[in-house]
Symmetry: C2
């Protein structure tokens, strides 16, 4: 978890990147909006690119930790899937601005960071896949559709959220999350 100063910088950067774009936002504007010194920013982040990456890394790290926590509860598999999907959809829906900025600027990440990013995403993907596969193997879920396609469907809607979801629209993140979990579990029955 980031400290208070780091969090202030991240919050300011997310607001500015989302409002005026990554290119149009200077480090000077970020430190002014965050009410910190340039020295403080460079203490935590090597560059504007580094800040962008850190914004997204924090989100996916929190999502991974949350999935591990849910699996650790040892609930029945349908409950585990519901909790994982609700947690993922809510955390993504609440942060569509960050995710949209990150996706748009993804091509800026250097090779090393792209590798880190893909590894983290792959771990998340494979952990969820293993949950679905176990549910199918134990007969709790239908095996009519292979687990890899079920996971692509569940993550597809989550990854597309930044393209259309607005947290101040008519559906709250929790309501949308419940609907998505209901549909995926209905498909697995």
């Amino acid at each position: 978890m980031p400290g208070a100063t780091e969090q202030k910088i991240i919050d300011a950067a997310v607001r500015l990147f989302a409002a005026q774009g990554y290119d149009a936002t200077s480090v000077q504007e970020i430190v002014a909006a965050a009410e910190v010194t340039k020295g403080a920013l460079y203490h935590y982040f090597r560059s504007k690119d580094d800040l962008l990456f850190e914004i997204y890394r924090l989100l996916i790290t929190a999502q991974s930790a949350d999935m591990d926590r849910i699996i650790g509860l040892g609930l029945p598999v349908a409950e585990t899937v519901r909790e994982i999907l609700v947690s993922l959809v809510v955390s993504t829906a609440e942060r569509v601005d960050e995710t949209a900025v990150f996706v748009r600027e993804l091509h800026r990440l250097g090779e090393e960071r792209m590798t880190d990013f893909r590894a983290e995403r792959r771990r998340y993907h494979e952990t969820f896949l293993a949950v679905i596969e176990k549910g199918q193997a134990d007969g709790d879920f239908s095996s009519a559709v292979p687990a890899d396609t079920v996971v692509r469907i569940a993550f597809g809607v989550v990854n597309q959220l930044p393209m259309w979801y607005r947290p101040d629209g008519e559906k709250t993140p929790a309501r949308l999350a419940g609907e998505i979990a209901d549909f995926v579990l209905a498909g697995l029955r």
Copy 2:
């Protein structure tokens, strides 16, 4: 439908954009690869941006026409949904390169084209939404999950295909399409 020369230009452009990027590809390279004259290219396309847009417009126009044709068959609603999804997934999966290029370069479209693009996408979305809603209203589908979320889930996986699907991988477009249709229809039961 484009004529033979136009199609040769489009095919060459797609190959080059996918292999080396949009920026790195010159109009000269496209005409050389397509074995046409620069004059022929500029007869069909005002600019490289115009060509990029046309590549994608042809795909979504064909997908829309196909959905209209399927609905016109007057099949039972579950069959209609299956045919629409299979057609959409197959046509997208066969053209992940085009779609990936387009998504990456989306920000280059001017305001007028973005408006056209969004209108075409919206029409497609709303037509499919109406099919699901009618199936729910007639009692052929479960109404447990609202139709708008069902559509977001079905289109989410399709729109994410360019991020992970490879047509030369282990799943053919037709097989993947069948799995996705099976899962969506299972969720609607």
